[in-house]
Amino acid sequence: MRSFRILHTADVHLGSPMAGWTQQLPEAWRQRIRKAADGVWQRIVDLALAEQVDVVTIAGDLFDRSDAPMAVHFEWLRGFERLAAANIPVVLCHGNHDPLVSPPPVPWPDLVHVLPAAPVLPDASYVAPSVYLSLAPDTRIQVSGFSYPARALTPSLAYAFVRDPDADFAVALYHGAVGSAHGHAAYCATSEAELAQRGFDVWALGHIHQPQVLRGQRPLIVYPGNPQGRGLQETGPRGCILLDVSAQGAVQTRFCPTADLVWMECEVRIEEDSLASLRRSVLEQLGALCKRCPGHWLLVRVRLVGEGRVAAALADPAEVLEALRQEVAARAWPLWVVALESQVAPPLDLETLAHSPELLGELVRVYRRYREQPEAARDLLRQELADVFHHGNELSVDSLSDAEVAELLAAAFRLLATWAVQEGAG
């Protein structure tokens, strides 16, 4: 077998917009995030051409939804045609976001191999289809996998992957949750141990957007993550996994960044109870982020945590956010602060206040009661927020996690407590 190179990616979700930005975003930044999101596939193709890979594999979720716009189909086609012109075959499967229900509206080049859909109902005799690529007379690669037939496919299908003994190298494309789902739906959930038993050399996974190598030795089990972070839930560098396979079958992985724009989270803890030190801390951390990600545009959410009288000054985060953006702009950093969350609480002794006959004491008692009773808190939210949080607005209290409910309550309490301290101080 000769050595070869595979570029593996997944969860491109082409055509889906980034989240976590609003109309307040300047036009230049809008263009950047549009370019970053819409051009990610072409950047992956550029990478494949530059690295002269032999095969490109895509483990599902090419589209964000089945009825993706034609522009997205054209974008995929353009990249496929470029790869085909370079004689680079592509093997892909569809994931839960883009189940394979119909052929693509525009035919893809012959070098693009789409793995057929798995049966909707569990079938013990089902064998995952394979594509065989002959890179050389003595190099025959088996790429196995399946496409989702519907949006939800819960059972593990690892059993359907059968290693061909005649193949020189075998790659399994698997779109599903292996181990922890990391907040994603547990589709085709399976475990490393189950995958390791199937005899494949590489398990090229998809579905989990966080890049991670679950197993570094044979078989290699790797999530490439999505190639471009699409919101504040997908922070940090994003890219593809380049697999260098030696003539002896040894696999070396290399993470190749493809994200033009990186989402970051910046948590700043109040150390000294003054706005000046807070400003200094925030700018220091933002500067450090810029140094850590050179050559990238950064979209950063700044979260202020801690306790201090400065909470009163942070009562209106919009003003602070605007000032912070001006500071960043003055430094010409490639960075945009998308949001500023102040979780800074006023310096209150809640234990003492809980026994106070004053109104604030009563407020503390009420807040603590809801904090200790999540269901009561959720009921309160259902009751109080019903005007806005309903299906018509695609907002639901039930969709909020307990942590989000608790944070909403905490934010409300912080607001009142800040007022109490602010007024008292004044």
Binding site: G15, S16, P17, M18, A19, G20, W21, T22, Q23, Q24, L25, R34, D38, D67, A68, P69, M70, A71, V72, H73, P104, P105, V106, A339, P357, E358, L359, L360, E362, L363, R365, V366, Y367, Y370, L380, L381, Q383, E384, L385, D387, V388, F389, G392, N393, E394, L395, L408, L409, A411, A412, F413, L415, L416, W419, A420, V421, Q422, E423, G424, G426
Partner: protein, 996 residues
């Protein structure tokens, strides 16, 4: 403090004792209207607190009004007297009879009066039904008692709630009149965007459907375009024919004219019609019977052929005319030549006309004559050359002779003289040479002698070795100086002194060198002085012996003494003489050359003279031979020709004349031949009878040519006129034809158009054109419609609603919506949290007075209104609310009058209790406050009053018998007041003011 007695003067209807022995508990004072109940109430307030109740509506007292109150406090009786119509200090008389004056004294005596504000006493302790309009007195003390509620910082609960409500509503307010709440607006935009997204079907199937529709439109467009192209072609064809129609008519007319011209030249070609025929028949110009369409190719060919023919004729006529002109000129020249030849024939010298008449010059004669000419030329040249050489030799001979004479030679024995001079010179040179050699030998000998003498002297004396050296140095120095002098003189080009100096220098140097060379043997010989001396002497003798003969043999120099300087001088003299002799020798050689040259010149003169003579003789012989040749060839004349070239020239002129005569004869023959050809051409064209040619001489031929020229010119003009007419007609026809062909787009198209235009009229063509235009317009409209539809479809495909754009907008708006919703949720939750906390706080932490008032109200209303609550509005205004059994909060304004008065009464009862709890016991006087209550509530309240009166002195003023009856039933002290008329004149005051 309890009231026991009250006296009022000039107050209302009272003017004296009003009450006496008033009990501690409840006392009902009953009286009709105008009995003075309200005056009693006002009077008691005035006595206790003075004229401070500015709110008193109408003072019930008159001038001089005053009052006296006797009160008991802690068992002590105090008497208070105060003027009521003027502000005066009260008088207080204590239990011990001590009299005090002033407010302070009063407060000190009765501290309760200092603990209660006068207005509080007025509104709480002593009030009428009308006072219950105000729910609660709003005085400082009472406010604290009633309105102390929870605050968040310095912000009231109401302000907090209001701020939260404001913020909440600023974000979300479904009221359409609200001023742009951000979340509401965002939700609205988001819904619209979502609807737009749902409407924008950007899926692949929709795209393919549009593609299919576009293909259908494209096919329909192609069909319409094809039809339109056909119709447009038809339209253009008709328009083309319409445009060609005038040209067609012009072409017909031009062709008719051309045919007419052609018919004048030759028979009309078949197939060509004449427009004149058509017009003559009166039919349509292009009708099939009237005018045949001009066949461009045939008519053009025929016309062109005719034109070519005419042009050929014209060219031929022109050529003939030119030839006749040439002929005429030729004949003129022949005449001139003939005359010239006749004149030339008279100019010959030796060969007259008869001699050569009519005969050509024989070539061999001419060659022989030319040979004679050449021989004559050669002889003449030779004679001339010999003559010239003879003259030159003579000149040289004279020059040599002159030189001989100049050098002293005589022409006769120049050779002998030369030999003599040469011998003398040779002899003298040999002598001088011998003298020079001898001098040199002598000089060597002398030097040897000198050296020997020096050696001998050195041997004989002390070695004086320096002398030879010094001498050698002197010699080297002298040689150097002489050499320098020679160079210097040589530079001035004075060769003789320079040569002498050079010789002297060479000599000196040679001597010096010799002296140096001979030193070494001399040195070696010093070893043997004696022998050496002898040897030297011997050698000296030999040298002396050698010198003598040499000196005697000198010829040209004399040497007095045989010493080296003299010898040197003699040598120089001999050398000078040698140089002189060498010059003499050179002169002798030159003389020898001159003599030889003179001899050669003499010989040359002799030879040239002989040659000159021989050449002259040869020339004479040649001239004789020429004369003989001339005679042999018929030459005559006297004297006979001297030069063969003259004969030759005449002979050639004669040959030339003969040639010219022959040429003239040939020209005449040529003219006759040309005229014969003209006559043949003439007759071939059938123009006229050819003129006969009979003339033999040039002049008659010339006149014949002139006649022929005139006839030819006349015919030529006639042909040229026809040619011009044909050219013009053909040009017109061609122009019309070319324009038509050009407009038609080609010959074939024009032919086709012509064929189509036959029998057509402009109206018929225009009718078809209009029909085609209408069809094209209809198809164009359909075409444009389809193009527009296709453009729209293509635009839809090109600008296919990029779902991503909409998605991005939705994403941005959704994020904004979520953020605003979260912000709204925070405010709303804060509102809820605070509301709940405030409710609990208010419920648990309301002022005591208010709680009691609530309890009183609850009891009076049998639990219907169990609670009173004070709330503070955002602007800091505190307001009382009545809370019903269901917890609903009621603004008292919204309650019935009775309930409102009951509420106010309950509040006052609660406040009195609150004062009492704080140790303030003041008499309470109510003026019928329960008038508007229903009997049930009134009875409940009266019972309550009765209970309160156990701890509180209460004077209940009423005019209602029911109350009196109730009081009597309850054993309450009832005092009756009657309506008393006012006294006519006021009584003098029993109590004097402080100023009295």
């Amino acid at each position: 403090m309890k009231l026991r007695r009250l006296e009022l003067y000039q107050v209302g209807p009272h003017n004296g004792l009003v009450l006496e022995n008033v009990g501690d508990g409840l006392t009902v004072v009953c009286g009709p209207n105008e009995a003075g109940k309200s005056s009693l109430l006002a009077g008691l307030r005035g006595v206790l607190f003075g004229l401070v109740v500015s709110a008193e509506p109408k003072p019930a007292w008159r001038q001089g009004a005053h009052g006296v109150a006797v009160v008991v406090r802690d068992g002590e009786i105090w008497r208070i007297e105060r003027s009521l119509d003027r502000r005066r200090r009260p008088l207080v008389q204590g239990p011990d009879g001590r009299r005090l004056s002033g407010e302070d004294a009063l407060r000190r005596a009765l501290p309760e009066l200092g603990l209660v504000e006068d207005v509080a006493y007025q509104s709480v302790f002593t009030f009428q039904l009308a006072d219950l309009v105000a729910l609660a007195p709003d005085q400082g003390q009472i406010r604290d008692q009633l309105f102390t509620v929870g605050r968040l910082g310095l912000r009231s609960a109401a302000a907090v709630e209001d701020e939260l409500a404001r913020r909440t509503k600023a974000l979300f307010n479904p009221d359409p009149r609200a001023r742009r709440p951000r979340l509401t607006q965002c939700l609205q935009e988001w819904r619209e965007l979502m609807e737009a997204r749902s409407r924008a079907d950007d899926s692949a199937s929709a795209y393919q459907a549009v593609q299919a529709e576009l293909e259908r439109r494209r096919a329909a467009l192609a069909e319409v375009a094809e039809k339109r192209a056909v119709e447009t072609e038809r339209c253009q064809r008709q328009r083309w024919l319409l445009g060609l129609y005038p040209l067609f008519l012009a072409n017909v007319r031009a062709a008719a004219r051309l045919q007419a011209v052609l018919s004048g030249i030759q028979p009309r070609p078949e197939g060509l019609g004449s427009p004149a025929d058509g017009t003559q028949t009166g039919g349509h110009p292009t009708s099939a019977n009237g005018v045949a369409a001009p066949d461009g190719a045939d008519l053009g060919t025929v016309a062109q052929a005719a034109l070519e023919r005419l042009r050929a004729w014209a060219a031929a006529a022109a050529e003939w005319s030119w030839r006749l002109q040439q002929l005429e000129d030729l004949l003129a020249r022949v005449s001139e030549e003939t005359a010239a030849a006749a004149a030339t024939a008279t100019t010959f010298t030796w060969f007259q006309e008869p001699a050569l008449a009519g005969l050509p010059v024989p070539t061999h004669d001419l060659v022989a004559l030319e040979a004679l000419v050449q021989e004559e030329d050669r002889l003449l040249q030779q004679l001339e050359a010999n003559q010239r050489a003879w003259q030159e030799a003579q000149v040289v001979q004279a020059d040599r002779r002159k030189q001989l004479l100049e050098r002293g030679f005589v022409e006769a024995d120049a050779v002998q003289e030369l030999a003599r001079r040469q011998a003398e010179a040779q002899r003298r040179l040999a002598e001088l040479t011998a003298d020079a050699e001898r001098v040199q030998v002598m000089l060597a000998k002398v030097r040897e002698r000198t050296a020997l003498e020096r050696e001998r002297a050195a041997l004989a004396q002390a070695p004086r070795r320096r002398r030879p050296v010094a001498r050698r140095g002197v010699l080297w120095l002298a040689g150097g100086l002489a050499l320098a002098a020679a160079v210097a003189v040589g530079l001035r080009q004075e060769w003789t002194p320079a040569g002498s100096a050079l010789l002297a220098a060479l000599l000196a140097l040679w001597v010096a060198a010799r002296a140096g060379a001979g030193r070494a043997p001399a040195d070696r010989e010093q070893a043997e002085p004696g022998a050496r001396l002898a040897e030297l002497d011997e050698r000296l003798a030999r040298v002396e012996a050698d010198l003598e003969p040499l000196a005697a043999r000198l010829v040209h120099v004399d040497v007095e003494r045989l010493e080296e300087p003299l010898l040197l001088d003699a040598g120089a003299a001999v050398a000078a003489k040698l140089r002189q002799q060498e010059q003499v020798m050179q002169q002798a050689a030159s003389n020898e050359q001159l003599v030889r040259a003179w001899q050669a010149a003499c010989a040359q003169v002799q030879r040239m003279d002989e040659a000159r003579r021989a050449a002259r003789a040869a020339l004479v012989a040649h001239r004789r031979a020429l004369a003989d040749w001339c005679r042999e060839h018929g030459g005559a004349g006297d004297p006979p020709p001297q030069r063969a070239r003259q004969v030759l020239e005449e002979f050639r002129r004669w040959a030339e004349l003969w040639e010219r005569r022959q040429a003239s004869a040939r020209n005449l023959d040529e003219a006759r031949k040309t005229l014969a050809e003209l006559a043949a051409w003439w007759s071939a064209r059938g123009l006229a009878d050819p003129p006969p040619v009979h003339a033999e001489d040039a002049s008659s031929l010339r006149s014949h040519v002139n006649r022929a020229q005139a006839r030819l010119n006349a015919w030529r003009r006639q042909q040229e006129d026809k040619l011009r007419e044909l050219e013009e007609a053909l040009l017109n026809w061609r122009r019309a034809h070319a324009e038509a062909v050009g407009r038609a787009g080609g010959e074939e198209d024009w032919v086709a158009a012509s064929a189509q235009l036959r029998g057509e009229t402009e109206e018929s063509i225009r009718a078809r054109l209009d029909d085609a235009l209408e069809t094209v317009g209809r198809l164009t409209e359909r075409h444009d419609d389809l193009v527009k539809q296709m453009g729209e479809l293509e635009a839809r495909l090109r600008d296919w609603p990029s779902g991503t754009d909409l998605e991005w907008q939705v994403a941005a708006l959704s994020e904004q919506k979520d953020l605003l919703a979260k912000q709204w949720a925070v405010y709303r939750l804060a509102q809820a949290l605070f509301k709940e906390a405030a409710a609990r706080h208010e419920a648990l932490r309301q002022p005591r007075a208010l709680r009691w008032a609530g309890e009183i109200l609850a009891r009076a209303t049998d639990g219907r209104y169990p609670q009173l609550r004070v709330e503070e509005s955002a602007d800091g205004q505190r307001r009382l609310f009545v809370v019903d059994a269901q917890g609903q909060r009621w603004d008292p304004v919204a309650l019935s009058r009775g309930t409102r008065e009951l509420t106010a009464f309950a509040i006052r009862l609660a406040l009195i209790a609150d004062y009492r709890e704080r140790g303030v016991h003041l008499p309470v006087v109510w003026d019928d406050p329960l008038v508007n209550l229903d009997p049930l509530r009134r009875s409940r309240l009266l019972r309550l009053i009765l209970e309160v009166s156990e701890q509180q002195q209460i004077l209940y003023l009423t005019c209602h018998p029911s109350v009196v009856e109730w009081a009597r039933q309850q054993g309450v002290d009832v005092r009756m007041m009657s309506s008393l008329p006012l006294p006519a004149a006021p009584r003098p005051a029993v109590a004097a003011g402080p100023d009295r």
